[in-house]
C-alpha cells in the first residue's frame, strides 16, 4: 500500500505502528540519555522530513506516561502524526512548545523515570536548551535563556537615515503605530514564529507601520548579533554606549578588505546601504530636471584664504553663500507635499552637505540656519558635526533636517556631475572643482579666471526652470562678490 512509501524506516520510527494507527513509537534513544532521564526527540516521520512542528502536546509536564502511549502530535512535511512514548515515567519538561519547530533528532521533551528524577529532567531541559542555541536556527527552543535580547527598534533604524536623502529618511519605519496595534503580514507572522522574533519589538516599515517580512528578518539579524553580522550591529549608534568598541570594527573590516577578496562575491547590503538604495529608488518618483551654470571663484577663493586663519572652512563658506542666496528664493528650499498636491515652504534654511564616511557610507550633516548664523560659528558647527559623524554619534535631527543639499566632489578634481535629489526636498546642488579657465571677460578681453561648474537638480513639480536659473543667478552674484557673506 501507498503509505509504506510515506515513511522511512530509519530515524527511530516504527513502521508498523504508523501503518495501522497513524501513530509512531520512538525507537530506543541513542545518545544523551542518563539512566533516570530520557529524552524525547523529534522523529523523522518521512524520508524528506528535516524538521517537525509540534501540533499539540497530549501530555503536560508532571503527567504520567506509559510506554506506547501517544504523548505528542507532530506535523511533518507530510502529515500530522501521534508520537508515542518509548519509556515509562513522568513527563518532566517540555522543551519545544506547541506551534514551535525542531530539527529531526533534537530533544523536544524529557521523561523522568521517577519523581525523584524530575528535577534533573528540568535541569536537563535548561542546559539542553542553552547548548542547542547555536545550532541551526529553528532547533532547540531554549526557553528564556536563548531568547535573543530584542534590539531596541529605534536602534535598527536610526542608522538607516544617514542617506543622502536626509530630510526624508525611511521615517515611517521607526514610527510605531499611533494606536499601538501590531499589524503584520501573514508571511511576517510566519517568519517571526520561525525566527523567534517578538513582533512587539519589530518596527514596521510598511504602510501605517505595518510589519513586513523584511522587517522581521532585519530584526532577527540584529538580534543575532553575537553570532556574526557585524554590519547591523555596528550600525547602531544608539547602542553606542553599550557597545562602545563596536563601531570601529566594521571600519577596519572595510579597510582590510582587498579588491581581490571582493571578486566573485555577493554581499547583502548593510542597513545603511539598504537605506541608500531604498531612497534612491524612492527618488525615481520625482520628476527631476537639471540646470547648470559656471561661476567664477577668484574672489571667493581670495576671501577663503583671508578667513582660513580664523578657522573658516571652504565647506562652511560655500554653505553660507548658498544660505544667503536661498534667502530670496523660498521655493528652492521648499518641499512637495507627500500627496503631491502642494508645496510646503520651510521656515529654516538648513543646508545639508553630503559627506563620505570612511567605511563607505554616506551621511548628510546639516548646517542649520545657514542664512542667519555667521560664518565663524557655521565653521565651528561644521567641524563639530564632522567629528561626531565619524563617530556615528549624530542625532537624527542633525542629519535629516536639511531643506537644501550640497554635494561637492570638487576636491576629487571632478569638473561637473549630476546629483540625485533627496526625496522631500526641492533641490540639490552638485559642485564641481574650481579651476583656471580661459574666459572672455565682460570688457572684451581674454583672461584666465578660476571657474567652477554648479549643477542644480530640482523637483519640477514645484521648482521650474526659471526658479532654478534665478537662484543660480543670485548664487553667482553672491560668490562673485562674496564680501557680503561677512556681514
Amino acid at each position: 500500500m501507498a503509505s509504506s512509501m510515506l515513511l522511512n524506516k530509519s530515524a527511530g520510527v516504527s513502521l508498523g505502528a504508523a501503518r495501522q494507527g497513524r501513530s509512531l513509537r520512538q525507537a530506543k534513544p541513542t545518545s544523551t540519555t542518563t539512566a533516570a532521564v530520557k529524552d524525547v526527540f523529534m522523529p523523522a516521520l518521512s524520508s524528506t522530513m528535516t524538521e517537525g512542528k509540534i501540533v499539540s502536546w497530549l501530555k503536560q509536564p508532571g503527567d504520567k506516561v506509559s510506554k506506547g502511549e501517544p504523548i505528542v502530535v507532530v506535523e511533518s512535511d507530510k502529515a500530522d502524526m501521534d508520537v508515542e512514548a518509548f519509556a515509562e515515567g513522568i513527563l518532566g519538561s517540555i522543551v519545544v512548545n506547541e506551534g514551535e519547530r525542531a530539527n529531526v533528532g533534537a530533544a523536544i521533551a524529557f521523561i523522568a523515570e521517577t519523581e525523584a528524577d524530575l528535577d534533573e529532567a528540568k535541569k536537563k531541559a535548561g542546559s539542553n536548551g542553552a547548548a542547542a542555541a547555536p545550532a541551526p536556527a529553528p532547533a532547540a527552543p531554549a526557553p528564556a535563556a536563548a531568547a535573543p535580547p530584542p534590539p531596541p527598534p529605534a536602534a535598527a533604524h536610526a542608522p538607516a537615515a544617514p542617506a543622502p536623502a536626509a530630510p526624508a529618511p525611511p521615517a515611517p519605519a521607526a514610527a510605531p503605530r499611533a494606536d499601538g496595534r501590531i499589524v503584520a503580514t501573514p508571511y511576517a507572522k510566519q517568519l517571526a514564529k520561525d525566527l523567534r522574533v517578538d513582533l512587539a519589538t519589530v518596527a514596521g516599515s510598511g504602510p501605517n507601520g505595518r510589519i513586513t517580512a523584511s522587517d522581521v528578518e532585519r530584526t532577527a539579524k540584529g538580534g543575532a548579533a553575537p553570532a556574526a553580522a557585524p554590519a547591523p550591529a555596528a550600525a547602531a549608534p544608539a547602542a553606542a554606549s553599550a557597545a562602545a568598541p563596536a563601531p570601529p570594527a566594521p571600519a577596519k573590516a572595510a579597510a582590510g578588505t582587498t579588491v581581490s577578496e571582493l571578486r566573485g562575491t555577493t554581499k547583502p547590503f548593510t542597513t545603511l546601504q539598504a537605506a541608500v538604495a531604498r531612497n534612491m529608488n524612492e527618488s525615481l518618483k520625482v520628476p527631476e530636471f537639471r540646470v547648470s551654470m559656471s561661476i567664477e571663484t577668484d574672489k571667493f577663493d581670495a576671501l577663503y584664504k583671508r578667513l582660513k586663519p580664523h578657522g573658516v572652512t571652504m565647506t562652511a563658506l560655500l554653505a553660507k553663500a548658498v544660505g544667503a542666496a536661498l534667502a530670496s528664493h523660498p521655493v528652492m528650499f521648499a518641499s512637495c507635499t507627500p500627496d503631491g498636491n502642494g508645496i510646503t515652504y520651510n521656515e529654516r534654511i538648513n543646508v545639508a552637505l553630503a559627506v563620505a564616511m570612511p567605511d563607505g557610507g554616506l551621511i548628510t550633516p546639516v548646517l542649520k540656519d545657514a542664512d542667519k548664523v555667521d560664518i565663524y560659528q557655521l565653521s565651528r558647527n561644521w567641524a563639530d558635526l564632522v567629528k561626531r559623524a565619524r563617530g556615528k554619534q549624530l542625532q537624527p535631527d542633525e542629519y535629516n533636517s536639511g531643506t537644501f543639499t550640497i554635494s561637492n566632489l570638487g576636491m576629487f578634481g571632478v569638473d561637473t556631475f549630476d546629483a540625485i535629489l533627496p526625496p522631500g526636498t526641492a533641490a540639490i546642488m552638485a559642485v564641481g572643482g574650481s579651476k583656471p579657465t580661459v574666459v572672455a571677460t565682460a570688457d572684451g578681453l581674454i583672461g584666465v579666471r578660476k571657474v567652477m561648474q554648479i549643477n542644480i537638480t530640482a523637483d519640477h513639480r514645484i521648482v521650474y526652470g526659471a526658479d532654478a536659473a534665478e537662484f543660480l543667478q543670485t548664487l553667482k552674484a553672491v560668490i562673485e562678490s562674496p564680501d557680503q557673506l561677512l556681514l
Binding site: A2, S3, M5, L6, E75, P186, Y187, P207, R210
Partner: protein, 582 residues
C-alpha cells in the same frame, strides 16, 4: 417575410419560402444572405433582423438536414406555430451546451444573450482564471529553486510581467468566446442580442437598454432560462473595483497588492490565493465557517491546508465575517476590514490590508426576466425553482409548461459543466424522453497547485448515509507518493480517496488532491454516472506509468464483499486490510 423577399434575390426568395425543399449546398446561399443583410433596405430594423436571422437559419437548416435526414419533421412543425423550437435565454456554457444538444436533436434554436457570449465561465470565470493559474503556476515552479535543483535544473532569477500575465487571460477569454460563437453559428443557431423578458411561456421580448436598433420578440415552443450568476457581495462591503473587488475585477490583474484579504475560502478564493502567492503577494483568508475550505471533505481539506496554505505566505481567520470594509487607495491608504465573530456578533479584529477580494460565492442573475408573467417567483436569494427535470415550477408549485431553467440560475450545482449537463437533460425532457440528471456524478475541481477534485459525497456525508441506511462503508485511500509518474515529476504530494458500499460496490464519492487531480476525477465520475461498481472497473487497464494509476490503485485496493457469501468472516478480513471508517 414578404417584404424581405421583395428586396432579395430570386434564389433567396425560393430558399426562404421553401423550408421543406431539399436544396443543394448551403454555402452560396449563406453568402448571399450576408450581402443582403448589409444592403440599405427600407425595412425597419426589427423586421430586418428577423428576416435576416430567419434566412440564415433556414439556409443552415437545409444544410444540416441534408446530412441528418428525417429531422425536418420537427422543424416543419415549429415553423408552423412558433419562430423556434427552442429559445435559450443566456449564452454561457449552460446555454451553449443545451443549444448544441438541441440542434443535434434537429431542433430550431435561438439564443438570446444580453452581455457577452460565453457568460461568466468564459469571460469572467473558469477560463481566464485558468490562464492566470497556468502562468502563475509556472512562475511558482521556477521560483522553487529546491524543486528545480532536485531534478538537476538550475534556474536564474525568475521574473514576470504582470501586464503580460493579465493579457494572456484576456486573450484566452476572447479566443474561447470566439470559438463558442462560431460553433453556434456553424450549427445554425441564431444569436439574438439583448436582455430577455417573458411575455408568456412561449414568447420572449428582448432588447438592450437605450438601443432601438437591437431587439425584438420571438416565440418558441420551449424556453430555457440560462441566465447564470454574478458575484455575490455581502451587505456592508462597498466594491470600488480597485482595492475592494470581486473575481470579475481580480481576473484583470490590474495591480498586485502586497497583501490581499480574501473573504471566502471556497474554490474562487483558493484559486486566487494560488495566483496571488505565486506572484509574490501575501494573503489572509476570512472564512465565516469554523474551518477553512468548508466545502471539502475534512481529510482532503486538511491536506489541502498543508499543501496550499501552510508554507505559503497565507494566514486565515475562521468563524468571522467581514462586517465593514472601508476601501483604501492603492499604495497610500490601506483597506480596513472589520471582523465580527460569526456567533457572538462581536467585533473581534480589524485588518489593514492593501486589497480585499470578495469571493463569497455567486448570486443568480434572474432580475428583469419578468417571471411574474409566467407565474413564477424566485426564492429569497433569486434562484428559479425547478423540478428534477429542470422544469420551472410556478408559485403554486406546479410545473410551468415549456419553460426550463438550468445552471447557476437554478442554484442546484453552480458549475459550468453542471449547467451544460442540465441543459442536455432539459432538452431530453422537452423531447419527451424523461431524463433526470444525477448531480452526484458531476465532478468538481479546484485548479490550485496541486489541484483538488471530487465527485459524489464527502466521507462525513457517506458515514451519515451508512448509518441511516445501514450499509457497510468502505474507504480506500492511495497516495501520489506511490505513483511513478508523480515521482518522476517530483510531485509526490497528494492522495486519493474513494467511498463505496462494501456490500454492493457502489461508488459514493471520490476525492483527489494532487498533480492533475482535475483530469483524474473523470474515471470516477463516469463510473458513477454509468452506475458501474467497484467490481466492474477493477479490471480496467491503465497505461503505465501515468497518473491515472493513482485511481487504478485506489480501485484495486477497494474490497467488496457481497452479503450473500458468508458475510461474517469475509467482512472481518476486508476490514483488517482496509481502513474502515464506518
Amino acid at each position: 417575410m414578404a417584404s424581405f423577399t421583395a428586396h432579395s434575390t430570386k434564389a433567396q426568395a425560393s430558399l426562404a419560402s421553401s423550408q421543406q425543399a431539399k436544396l443543394v449546398s448551403a454555402r452560396p446561399q449563406r453568402s448571399t444572405v450576408r450581402c443582403n443583410a448589409s444592403l440599405p433596405v427600407s425595412l425597419d430594423s426589427r423586421q430586418l433582423n428577423q428576416a435576416v436571422n430567419r434566412c440564415i437559419r433556414v439556409s443552415r437548416h437545409v444544410a444540416t438536414r441534408s446530412s441528418r435526414g428525417q429531422r425536418c419533421a420537427v422543424v416543419a412543425m415549429a415553423g408552423a406555430k412558433y419562430d423556434y423550437d427552442l429559445v435559450i435565454i443566456g449564452c454561457g456554457v449552460g446555454g451553449h451546451g443545451a443549444a448544441l444538444h438541441a440542434v443535434e436533436q434537429g431542433m430550431k434554436v435561438a439564443v438570446i444573450e444580453g452581455h457577452d457570449i460565453g457568460g461568466t465561465c468564459v469571460n469572467r470565470g473558469c477560463v481566464p482564471s485558468k490562464a492566470l493559474l497556468a502562468a502563475s503556476g509556472r512562475i511558482r515552479d521556477m521560483k522553487n529553486e529546491m524543486h528545480m535543483k532536485s531534478m538537476g535544473i538550475q534556474v536564474g532569477s525568475v521574473s514576470f510581467d504582470r501586464a503580460g500575465v493579465a493579457a494572456h487571460a484576456t486573450q484566452l477569454a476572447s479566443a474561447i468566446q470566439g470559438n463558442l460563437k462560431r460553433s453556434l453559428e456553424a450549427l445554425g443557431v441564431d444569436i439574438l442580442i439583448g436582455q430577455a423578458k417573458f411575455v408568456d411561456n412561449h414568447t420572449i421580448k428582448y432588447g438592450l437598454p437605450g438601443r432601438v436598433d437591437v431587439g425584438g420578440q420571438v416565440t418558441a415552443k420551449d424556453v430555457i432560462i440560462a441566465t447564470g450568476s454574478v458575484p455575490f457581495v455581502p451587505p456592508g462591503i462597498p466594491i470600488d473595483g480597485k482595492t475592494v473587488f470581486t473575481s470579475d475585477h481580480a481576473l484583470k490583474l490590474e495591480w498586485l497588492p502586497n497583501w490581499v484579504a480574501i473573504i471566502g475560502s471556497g474554490y474562487i478564493g483558493l484559486e486566487f490565493s494560488d495566483v496571488y502567492t505565486a506572484l509574490g503577494c501575501e494573503v489572509t483568508f476570512i472564512e465565516a465557517m469554523d474551518k477553512i475550505m468548508p466545502g471539502f471533505d475534512t481529510e482532503i481539506a486538511r491536506m489541502a491546508e498543508r499543501l496550499l496554505i501552510k508554507g505559503r505566505p497565507i494566514d486565515y481567520h475562521t468563524g468571522v465575517i467581514a462586517t465593514k470594509v472601508t476601501p483604501g487607495v492603492p499604495g497610500v491608504k490601506p483597506v480596513e476590514i472589520e471582523l465580527t465573530d460569526f456567533k457572538t456578533k462581536k467585533v473581534v479584529d480589524t485588518l489593514e490590508v492593501d486589497a480585499c477580494m470578495v469571493a463569497t460565492g455567486r448570486a443568480p442573475y434572474t432580475n428583469g426576466l419578468n417571471l411574474g408573467s409566467i407565474g413564477v417567483e424566485t426564492d429569497r436569494r433569486g434562484f428559479v425553482p425547478v423540478s428534477e427535470k429542470m422544469e420551472v415550477l410556478g408559485s403554486d408549485g406546479k410545473v410551468v409548461p415549456n419553460v426550463y431553467c438550468i445552471g447557476d440560475a437554478n442554484g442546484k450545482y453552480m458549475l459550468a459543466h453542471a449547467a451544460s449537463a442540465q441543459g442536455i437533460s432539459a432538452v431530453e425532457n422537452m423531447l419527451g424522453r424523461p431524463n433526470v440528471l444525477n448531480h452526484l456524478s458531476i465532478p468538481a475541481a479546484c485548479f490550485t497547485h496541486p489541484e483538488v477534485s471530487f465527485v459524489g459525497v464527502t466521507q462525513e456525508k457517506a458515514e451519515e448515509m451508512a448509518k441511516e441506511q445501514g450499509f457497510p462503508l468502505g474507504v480506500a485511500k492511495t497516495s501520489f507518493k506511490a505513483n511513478s509518474k508523480a515521482l518522476a515529476e517530483k510531485e509526490g504530494e497528494g492522495m486519493a480517496k474513494m467511498l463505496y458500499r462494501k456490500d454492493t460496490g457502489e461508488i459514493l464519492g471520490v476525492h483527489i488532491i494532487g498533480l492533475h487531480a482535475a483530469d483524474l476525477i473523470h474515471e470516477a465520475s463516469n463510473a458513477i454516472a454509468t452506475k458501474q461498481t467497484v467490481q466492474d472497473i477493477k479490471f480496467a487497464v491503465h497505461a503505465h506509468p501515468t497518473l491515472s494509476e493513482v485511481l487504478d490503485e485506489l480501485i484495486k485496493s477497494a474490497h467488496v464483499t457481497p452479503p450473500s457469501s458468508s458475510s461474517n468472516s469475509s467482512a472481518a478480513k476486508a476490514g483488517a486490510k482496509q481502513p474502515v471508517a464506518a
